[in-house]
């Protein structure tokens, strides 16, 4: 049984079909990366997984159980197992770093504040932000905010972690610190789905890579296959273009 199973999922924004019959799965602890041109549906797939964008057809199973996105309880349960890190960090601007990280454990998982804060400080240390626990998001650089966002996502103890172009809004100098943080998480048994344009990183950390185009997955395989011996012309074309610049 796969940890995460996506079967024939479709989604659309109004009349625009953004996902067409997407089927993909991830084993427990696997790191699956999604690559492809802008508008190919990579981010939408992550949004569908965590229930921000409705699916119009198909099904999603987590741990063998089908997720009912229209059921509030079911959705809350899902979000207790799954977390997402966004391109624009999406930190709560009115809360300091520590509160950003502790709000979900304290208010949703009802952990005692002291326990949640201890755990939060550990996580902040892991992402190298322990010095900034009292700072507000607008006092931090993009890379720092993104590392806090990763700590916030980890604070809910997710089994599945989604990364949606988490380095796309960062200065080139800041990309490395965020990628290093993600890299340090890959051996913790968390199932990950990563949307990224950082091909060297994708190639290094992924167990499998899925190439998407026009809302479809056109090829899935280990990084060596996708980057060295792609089976599809579209994959070869995309990979060669993005690697040559």
């Amino acid at each position: 049984m796969q940890h995460l199973e996506i079967d024939n999922v479709c989604a659309s924004y109004g009349k625009l079909e953004v996902l067409r019959d997407v089927t993909l799965s991830a084993d427990k602890g696997e790191v699956v990366s999604l690559i492809g041109p802008s508008g190919s549906g990579k981010s939408t797939l992550l949004r569908v997984l965590i229930g921000l964008t409705p699916l119009t057809a198909g099904s999603i199973h987590v741990g063998g159980e089908r997720v009912d996105y229209s059921n509030r309880k079911n959705l809350k349960k899902l979000r207790g197992h799954m977390a997402i890190v966004f391109q624009q960090y999406n930190l709560f601007q009115n809360m300091n770093v520590l509160r950003n990280v502790t709000i979900a454990p304290v208010k949703i998982k009802k952990q005692p504040r002291a326990d949640a804060e201890n755990k939060a400080r550990e996580l902040l240390e892991k992402v190298g932000m322990q010095e900034k626990a009292e700072a507000y998001p607008d006092e931090l650089s993009g890379g720092q905010q993104q590392r806090v966002a990763i700590a916030r996502a980890l604070a809910t103890n997710p089994e599945i972690l989604l990364f949606d172009e988490v380095t796309s809004a960062l200065d080139p100098e800041r990309v490395k610190e965020v990628l290093d943080t993600i890299r340090s998480l890959t051996d913790e048994g968390i199932t990950m789905m990563i949307v990224s344009h950082e091909m060297a990183f994708v190639r290094e950390v992924s167990t499998r890579v899925a190439m998407m185009d026009e809302g479809r997955i056109i090829e899935v395989g280990p990084p060596a296959q996708i980057f060295e011996e792609p089976q599809q012309d579209r994959t070869r074309d995309f990979v060669s273009k993005i690697l040559s610049h």
Binding site: I50, G51, L52, K76, R79, G80, M82, A83, I84, F86, Q88, N90, L91, F92, Q93, N94, M95, I103, A104, K107, I108, R152, T156
Partner: protein
Amino acid sequence: MDYTFQFAAVFEELPYLLGGAAITLQIAFVSFWGGAVIGLFGAIAKVYGGGFWRRLASGYVVAFTNTPALVQIFLLYYALPDAGILLEPLTAVLIGLVLNAGAYLTEILRAGVLSVRRSEIEAAQTLGMSGLQIVRYVMLPHIAKTIYAPLSNFFVWLVLGSSLAALFGVEELTGRAINISTVNLRSIETFTVVAMIYVVLTVIASSALALVGRLAFRVKAKVF
């Protein structure tokens, strides 16, 4: 024509007037918070609501911002008894002002709701927050920060506007002033003193609001 001001006759009644001022503040306070609750949900309905809720909120705002508060209270006070609902003057005034304030605050708060970044709401959703938790922890702080100034102004307006309760025989500050002046016949002095009391009330009210904003919402408002 000579007129000798005689404030002594008014100062004798100062405790009575200050008692009225306390009622004035209570009316303003109840109207403000009652209106704020209605306004918050009205604003969310107007920004995020579906067809029915949005139309309901819009209809309510149109009805209550395009008629005078005084007329609304008259309707509650004189029309509802026909439907078997008899209201005390103070109750009629409070209900009228809450509904009126709710309509204005819907519009004021709407600007605040629009200032909340969609991305923060999505982050809150994915962390598993319920709708009410999102309002409480994510939306309200942004709303409060954005609309602090118009909100304070509106509270001052309510302190002053509550004087229309006097027309219904409620003995708040203005009502008591009318009572005194019909006895001591010192209208100029009485209403001068009452005007001063209103100034003191509004200054205290807006400073207190600025202080709350500073402490609670990191608003860099000037505290007097």
